[in-house]
């Protein structure tokens, strides 16, 4: 069976080197197989650019299985592209039509400075995790499954929050560049389970303070993050984080 192919036009954000402070550059790519992933399409573009002795487009990728959170890109105004609940690497060219013009830009936020082309520095997320996104109490050896009873609903909720891959699409989608969906997913995931609950009061203050320090914006419940999240993390987590933060700051003796 012959593979279906399409011809596309690309407007790609190039920044750094010969492109200086950045601009959208036009490319056209013919005979793109619709079974290619979006990143494979970029691989083909880069092969072509290298053959023409031009600088290839820098973009981030790692597992290409939709679980590592390394790929980014805002495709036609949507972080990770038009397909719901999907990362860029799992987006395929069959989602586009012959003759389409596709605009590709980096994740934009003050706290995600562009390194080059489509690559942004997301180490502000690492700083938030380092501030408290871990468990430091001794939890001993791996427990027997029945040693710490956890209700199914609760473990499901913790797992749903834990599916956050920390890609930063929530920040990219947010008109306020707020990182509350990311931070709340981590707060919620850890505080929902028994081992993480112990330090939850201190953790929520530390992580929110670091999030503010990194210069992210404030949530105004626009909910674009939830709609664009490749893991479909719910904004219910933000309410949970707010609740925990208020309880911790006003109702406990903890001070982060």
């Amino acid at each position: 069976m012959a593979e279906k192919t399409i011809n596309i036009k690309l407007k790609v954000w190039r920044q750094g080197g010969e492109f200086g402070g950045g601009k959208l550059v036009d490319y056209s790519l013919d005979d793109v197989g619709t079974d290619m992933s979006f990143l494979e399409m970029f691989d083909v573009l880069n092969e072509k650019l290298i053959a023409e002795k031009k600088t290839p487009v820098s973009f981030e990728h790692d597992c290409r299985e939709g679980i590592c959170g390394t790929c980014s890109m805002v495709i036609n105004g949507q972080p990770h592209g038009p397909m719901k609940g999907t990362t860029t690497c799992q987006l395929h060219m069959r989602s586009f039509n012959d003759g389409d013009t596709i605009v590709v830009e980096p994740f934009r936020a003050k706290s995600f400075p562009v390194i080059r082309d489509l690559v942004v520095d997301r180490s502000s997320f690492d700083a938030i995790i380092q501030a408290g996104g871990y468990i430091s109490v001794n939890t001993g050896q791996a427990q027997d499954a029945n040693a710490i009873p956890v209700e199914k609903d609760v473990s499901d909720a913790a797992f749903d929050a834990a599916t956050c891959i920390g890609c930063g699409a929530c920040v990219a989608a947010c008109p306020n560049s707020a990182a509350m969906l990311f931070t709340s997913a981590k707060v919620s995931h850890l505080s929902t389970l028994p081992q993480g609950k112990v330090e939850s009061s201190k953790r929520v203050q530390a992580m929110v303070n670091q999030m503010d320090k990194e210069g992210f914006g404030m949530c105004s419940n626009i909910k674009a993050c939830e709609a664009e999240c490749p893991k479909e993390i719910s904004v219910d987590n933000i309410a949970l984080m707010n609740r925990q933060y208020l309880a911790s700051v006003l109702g406990s003796d903890k001070q982060a």
Partner: protein, 239 residues
């Protein structure tokens, strides 16, 4: 108290202030509306004038009013600060932005809010200032004081009703009032449920009810406010 200042200037602290002041203003609106609805009674303004006089002289109302002015300003100032900080946090604008998955109101709260702030100043100038400080224009409004027989006693009250009725013969003023109420509707459509989410009051059983109540409230309250100038302008009441 260092921690407390840090709390109030944290992202969640600032949002908490927005939420609580917003909820206070949400509680205030129906109270204001109940008073206003007396403008529709077609009794020559007696009920409204008696009510306006009571509002101007009741110690509890006067005390609460000061709180109200403070909360309106706090809500507005905090809103502007949050808007500026968020502008500062966001990077370069996208060349192609869809934002398809967010409501128009949620992205324009600052502009809707500023529209309402301007409206509040116009509104205070129209009636509050007129009631308390402005010279009475007899040619336009007739006699300033009007006598009512209340519980067998004759009482002279200021005829604010005449001022309201006269103002609402001006299509420009009616237009500003109606437009502002449309703005209020959109502001509330996002703000009502959002205030609860910010407080962390998100619950499988109650959130759908809060959202429904928010929608009903956001439509009914501004509509009831807007009907008053329209009916006065149309001459259905007053005249």
């Amino acid at each position: 108290m260092n921690w407390f200042i840090q709390f109030l200037t944290s992202s969640i602290g600032r949002k908490l202030i927005m939420s609580l002041t917003g909820l206070f203003l949400i509680l205030f609106l129906p109270v204001h509306l109940v008073g206003n609805l007396q403008l529709l009674m077609n009794d020559g303004g007696e009920a409204f004038n008696v009510y306006a006089d009571m509002m101007g002289h009741n110690a509890f109302i006067q005390f609460t009013a000061k709180g109200l002015y403070f909360f309106i300003l706090l809500h507005a100032v905090q809103g502007v600060i949050i808007y500026m900080k968020n502008k500062n946090a966001s990077g370069q604008k996208y060349a192609k932005s869809t934002n398809a998955n967010a409501t128009w109101a949620s992205k324009n709260m600052i502009w809707l809010g500023l529209l309402l702030l301007i409206f509040i100043f116009i509104h205070m100038g129209d009636f509050w200032f007129a009631m308390k400080f402005q010279e009475w224009d007899q040619a336009e409004l007739g006699r300033e004081m009007i006598a009512y027989n209340i519980e067998g006693q004759s009482v002279e009250l200021k005829n604010l009703y005449a001022k309201v009725n006269y103002s609402f013969t001006n299509p420009l003023i009616v237009g500003v009032y109606v437009l502002s109420m449309v703005g209020l509707m959109f502001h509330l459509l996002h703000g009502f449920a959002s205030a609860f989410q910010t407080l962390g009051l998100n619950h499988k059983k109650y959130t759908p009810a809060i959202e429904l109540l928010g929608k009903l409230y956001s439509i009914i309250i501004p509509l009831a406010f807007a009907i008053i100038p329209i009916l006065h302008y149309a001459g259905v009441v007053g005249k």
